[in-house]
């Protein structure tokens, strides 16, 4: 018997799929090098005389661009990418990077020269930046196709114009951008150009969003069916269809429920072009069999809930950040500690972190309304302060259940005003600044400088408060075969176990209904048995 058992077990083990047991397949022979395809553009920028000059700075390039693209500068200066400011018309909150506080690097004021490496402009180094000067617009950061243009933190939005050591004292040298070459090779935006900022938000690769990181520069189908580099190969702009440099899709007012039909070419449509429904419509599944049932879920679920089963599927994303432990030194010097996977677990400059890959999202009702905790707003000292609060309910007709990344952390707040503080962390390139936390590791001076730059009072006493920031998950759409199955939600410990307000078969039960059903089933069984027994008895009696 024991041997039989063992043999069965071994046979079963043998029968398991063992894709991993084979060695890596040899790469398929690549195609012969093809001739450079003809450009689809109607203009060859290398032939433009305006661009055939030795540019010394970014604004010089912009002047040349604006000589032909006369309206581009005006368009840009009206966008959030330029102003970093936007007022929510519903609650009148003034948002935008210039005003919001997050629980990553926290805030822009006092850190302009560093943060504005991701501004679509040149020279924003303090609160006096001229937002009306169109020649400060950076055309190249979005339209570079060479990969040779990079804005460095600390240069107030400029690229390197001469060879320089970056990061300072690292021994690594950065060559200056060849501005003429970049200018003569401009083209449409790409995943690489958008990703130069959006993949690196929060201070590094895969830190902020969870569904946006550098793995999307050249993703496989498993990671995103739309951006699959060997398949549909969507750029960001394929969904975020831009008009007059205005890019749809905003986390300040996310479109929680798009009730419109699919967008049609030629038809005037001012709704968000970046929703799933704008292409797939309201009934995206085949209207036969079990798939028809899926269409009945679209009034409660965002498409992303089923079709993004996990995020950070190519590399881990940062899940928490504790600023309260920042500032520790070893032998008077800052240090870092790596986790088992080689990601930062501690940095004297920033505190403790935790990374995770293949993260199962949390799920919340969202109706598109979001409220931020801004500077001056009270924090919850005894609990968790929500940096942004998503609103929604199952009854308002406007909400859907959305997958979200909830980023948790601890960050400084003023013990007197009971509101969040802005730490002054970074100074300009090569600038010695005794109040910058990343130089002197002293909180008091850094928080005082941050408060002054933000125009906020600071009583001198501070603490650290627990915070949460919520991010909708909408990229990294998996192949349809990998979408959630029914039982992953319709079960007691399923994905939606914490979503309230709906009756979910498989998860929820009414004890009285269950009792009635049980009694009915039992009664039926007893009835059948009694009936059968009576028939047998009567038959024997008659025979």
């Amino acid at each position: 018997m024991r041997k039989l058992f063992a043999t069965v077990a071994l046979l079963a083990a043998q029968a398991l799929p063992c894709a991993w047991a084979a060695t890596d397949p040899a790469p398929a022979p690549g195609p012969a090098p093809a001739a450079k395809p003809a450009s689809k553009s109607t203009a060859d920028h290398t032939k433009f005389k305006e661009l055939q000059q030795a540019f010394k700075s970014g604004p010089e390039v912009t002047k040349a661009c604006l000589a032909c693209h006369t309206e581009a500068g005006k368009q840009i200066t009206h966008t959030k990418h330029w102003t970093w400011e936007w007022m929510n018309p519903e609650n009148k909150q003034v948002l935008g990077k210039k005003h919001v506080v997050n629980n990553f690097c926290t805030a822009v004021p006092s850190n302009y020269e560093f943060c504005t490496a991701c501004h679509v402009g040149y020279g924003w180094k303090d609160a006096n930046f001229d937002f009306k000067n169109e020649t400060n617009v950076d055309c190249l950061v979005c339209h570079d196709t060479t990969g040779g243009y990079k804005k460095l933190p600390g240069l107030a939005g400029h690229p390197a114009y001469k060879e320089m050591e970056f990061p300072p004292k690292s021994g690594k040298m950065v060559k200056p951008a060849d501005l003429a070459k970049v200018a003569q090779n401009v083209g449409p935006t790409s995943r690489a150009t958008c990703g130069a900022c959006h993949f690196l938000g929060g201070g590094g690769d895969a830190v902020k969003h969870g569904d946006l990181d550098t793995s999307l520069k050249n993703p496989g189908k498993y990671l995103d069916v739309h951006m699959d580099a060997k398949g549909l190969n969507f750029t960001c702009a394929a969904c975020h269809a831009t008009q007059g440099h205005n890019i749809p899709g905003s986390r300040y007012t996310p479109t929680a429920a798009d009730k419109e039909a699919a967008h049609m070419r030629g038809k005037k449509d001012d709704t968000n072009a970046a929703t799933c429904q704008s292409c797939h419509g309201q009934k995206p599944h085949k209207a036969t069999g079990v798939r028809a049932k899926l269409n009945e879920h679209t009034d409660k679920l965002a498409c992303q809930t089923c079709h993004i089963p996990q995020y950070a599927r190519a590399q881990p994303t940062k899940m928490s950040w504790d600023w309260s432990t920042a500032g520790k030194l070893k032998d008077g010097k800052p240090f870092t500690v790596k986790d088992s996977g080689g990601h930062d677990a501690y940095d004297s400059k920033k505190g403790d972190f935790r990374y995770e890959s293949h993260v199962i999202p949390e799920y919340v009702w969202l109706n598109g309304k979001v409220k931020y905790t801004l500077l001056g707003d009270p924090v919850n000292e005894n609990g968790v302060t929500k940096i942004n609060e998503f609103f929604g309910s199952p009854d308002d007709g406007a909400s859907r259940i959305w997958p979200v990344k909830v980023f948790r952390g601890k960050q400084p707040y003023d013990l007197e005003s009971k509101s969040l503080l802005v730490p002054h962390t970074a100074a300009g390139y090569g600038v010695r600044d005794d109040t910058a936390f990343w130089q002197n590791f002293q909180w008091e001076g850094a928080l005082q400088a941050g408060a002054e730059a933000a125009g906020r009072p600071f009583g001198g006493k501070f603490g650290f408060v627990a915070t949460e920031m919520t991010w909708p998950i909408t990229h990294m759409v998996a192949p349809k075969e990998d979408a959630l199955t029914c039982t992953q939600c319709h079960s007691k410990s399923g994905r939606l176990q914490n979503v309230k307000g709906i009756y979910l078969p498989g998860r929820d039960a009414n004890p009285w209904l269950d009792l009635l059903g049980g009694l009915a089933a039992l009664g039926t069984l007893l009835g059948v048995i009694a009936h059968g027994a009576l028939r047998i008895y009567m038959n024997r009696k008659a025979g």
Binding site: F5, L10, P309, R313, S340, E481
Partner: protein
């Protein structure tokens, strides 16, 4: 007599059914890890290196990568492979049980499930060994004792780095050589 035979038959069927139903839980163990996938793997690897008795790491496999390469998704799975010639040699030298080389090297699987938690899967070496006679039973019993040590994790100790084999390791297929002497 008929009642006796019927009772024995019923007992055999019942025992068989019970064994069939419980076989997976008897043959394999699954425990939850308090750490992430990479940290769990790293802690097991370092425990193996510190276990003595000739244990060495012989590979780290990532079957999820093969699924990704094929355009699909699966939650993270990593398999730590370890070997000790002290235990493998006597089995490999005995023709009647040499087929058990199929179980070598010793594997410990670390994986995430849909509840977001990380689990460790191991073979119940002690029980399985007993099925193959005294030699294998004794060897596998010792393996099982060492295997327990592999899974002892002290949260107070800092997370060690994961050991990624240099030659082709941590891929979808090849285990790579981690200095194994198996």
């Amino acid at each position: 007599m008929l009642k006796f035979i019927g009772g024995v038959a019923a007992g055999v069927v019942l025992t068989g059914a019970l064994g069939y139903g419980m076989a997976d839980k008897l043959m394999f163990n699954e425990t939850m890890s308090p750490f992430g996938v990479e940290e769990t793997v790293a802690r097991i690897q370092h425990n193996i290196q510190a276990a003595g008795n000739g244990w060495t790491l012989s590979g780290l496999r990532n079957p999820a990568r093969a699924v990704q390469a094929d355009g699909g998704n699966t939650l993270p799975v990593m398999m730590v492979e370890a070997c000790s010639t002290k235990y493998s040699k006597p089995i490999l030298n005995e023709d009647s049980v040499r087929f058990l080389s199929i179980l070598m090297p010793c594997k410990i699987s670390v994986y995430k499930k849909n509840d977001g938690k990380v689990y460790i899967g191991t073979m119940n070496a002690g029980l399985m060994g007993k099925m193959f006679g005294p030699l294998v039973g004794e060897v596998m019993g010792q393996v099982a004792a060492d295997q327990k040590k592999f899974l002892e994790m002290d949260p107070k100790k800092p997370a060690p780095p994961m050991i990624v084999p240099k030659a082709g390791g941590e891929g979808g297929g090849s285990g790579g050589g981690g200095g194994s002497n198996c």
